[in-house]
Symmetry: C2
Subunit: 323 residues, 2 copies
């Protein structure tokens, strides 16, 4: 929860004027968004979200993120859509920061997802994967396989502050992942962070996806692996195979997995658990005690990783038989 940049009424009114959205009626800073500053803006034309991009976001990546939302919306995906100014630009400047306005998406994220929610998310992810086809821009996955060891080395000397066995676990796992990471899987645009707080529902119907600020080009099946971690574990960190099955069947109702993708799923799931273990461990050790946003406990991803280490095939995630 954070508003990092305060905007004045005069600044905002002149910013809004360039977008042809009518009269500015109100704006309130919202307490969501760890990376950026967000305002809910009412104008006489409707409700919008104004985002000011803070220092952690690479400005060079903003055309990718905004262009992707445009592309996906044009291909039928429900997601926030950038508003363009009279000159056609989605990216502007406000209070000294890169800034963009997007349409407001009604709905809210579910705190206790059911198997039915997981099925809907699987379908939506597959639709996003198909919808991303033909998007002209590229962005490498900075938090993919090649980024994990360098990230680990930035905190390895302090890993024992989290858990005495953490270094051995990470080093062994990185060796395994680097040796066995699947190559040549179908590639495309992935969300890369499709956690429950990035999926909105209305009356148990999925109303849209948000927060494309980790989206990148990578193996499509890796995106599934992220969401198996994010959606299908219970609070006690046991894997719920009913939810896993619902997610995978939902996905396959739109896009069938290839045999190589099915075979790779246990390794991809280990990699996805490693990715969140590493960023959470780094944040855990580097977040100042007085920060506005509390870091999340990395140990939850140790538990997930250990589960995936015991998985033999995609059947253990709930998908049986050939496709």
């Amino acid at each position: 929860m954070a508003v990092y940049t305060e905007v004045s009424d005069d600044e905002l009114a002149s910013f809004i004027a360039s977008y042809g959205l009518g009269q500015l009626l109100s704006f309130k800073g919202i307490a969501e968004g760890v990376e950026n500053t967000n305002y809910i803006v009412h104008t006489s034309k409707g409700t919008f979200i104004l985002t000011l991009y803070e220092k952690r976001v690479e400005v060079a990546d903003l055309p990718f993120y905004l262009g992707l939302m445009d592309h996906l919306a044009a291909h039928g995906l429900s997601c926030p859509t950038p508003v363009h100014d009279a000159a056609g630009r989605a990216l502007g400047t406000l209070a000294g920061r890169p800034a963009a306005l997007v349409t407001f998406l009604e709905g809210f994220w579910v705190r206790h997802p059911t198997a039915a929610h997981c099925a809907a998310v699987g379908r939506a992810m597959a639709e996003m994967h198909l919808g991303g086809d033909g998007f002209a821009l590229r962005r490498e996955n900075a938090l993919g396989l090649s980024g994990w060891r360098p990230l680990y080395e930035r905190f390895s000397a302090r890993a024992s502050e989290i858990d005495p066995d953490l270094s051995a676990l990470i080093e062994g796992e990185l060796n395994h992942l680097e040796a066995s990471w699947p190559q040549n899987l179908p590639q495309g645009i992935i969300h890369a962070d499709l956690f429950p707080d990035n999926v909105f529902f209305l009356d148990d119907k999925l109303s849209g996806l948000i927060d494309f600020y980790f989206a990148c080009n990578d193996a499509l099946a890796y995106d599934i692996a992220v969401s198996l971690n994010a959606w299908c574990f219970e609070k006690d960190l046991s894997f719920n195979i009913t939810k896993g099955r619902a997610f995978l069947r939902g996905y396959e109702a739109v896009r069938k997995l290839t045999p190589a993708e099915r075979d790779a799923m246990p390794t991809l799931a280990r990699g996805a658990a490693m990715r969140f273990l590493l960023t959470r461990a780094y944040d855990w050790l580097h977040t100042p005690k007085d920060a506005l946003v509390s870091p999340k406990n990395p140990i939850e991803y140790v538990r997930r990783l250990r589960f995936h280490q015991g998985v033999r095939s995609i059947a253990d995630y709930g998908l049986n038989g050939a496709s």
Copy 2:
């Protein structure tokens, strides 16, 4: 900026259901409100603010605040209006906290008020004073004259941490105020905190008043004295007599001041400066370094107080001649 209490979608949906506001479409915690947790709520019937009252608010005072908003709205003042549930109650319980829903007021507060804004606020304050007439509930001003010395005594031992001369200033001024505080001025409901961030404008027209959580029964003219402090000093803490004149004339266009109120204004203004000096000094010394909300500098009110100490009559605030 703060969301102190997190509400789940299930909890909120069942809370909303009791108000007959249609389907819950979205809710976002907003980064305003030092005292309470506030959410913007969209339902199929419109936009509302949900407030969860945190520990600093006296639960026993909530019927006064909510009833006052109802009363003022019924008497034509533009302000948030409580939504009542099927049983007629404005006050409910959510996530273990007292909670209320009010209508959303469009508009935004002006960061750089002009004399025209001050005139509009003066008119609105007088309308509020007339509109409060007949309101059945009472609330003493806990931050009025009798509260100042006890509040000072809670931090007097540490006052020199703010400024070495602060104790002498406050003690001398408290003696003066207690000896000369005006009695028998016209009484009524006052806002008691009508600062720029509590007045919304749209296109330079006042759209409404918000935040009645300091409202109480006290001398009406004391409310004016608060707002002379809040609206009519420039950033360099010089008094802008053009703004003072605009405020007072705006007020008198709706409700004439009595001769006693005019005579009392310099003393009331000193008292109002003292009230904010004391609460800011207390907060300055007692806010933890890692608090979400930064305390405001109390020294600004030393400067205002010194100005009022040199004032001879209401003419120095811009109002000349008999009413």
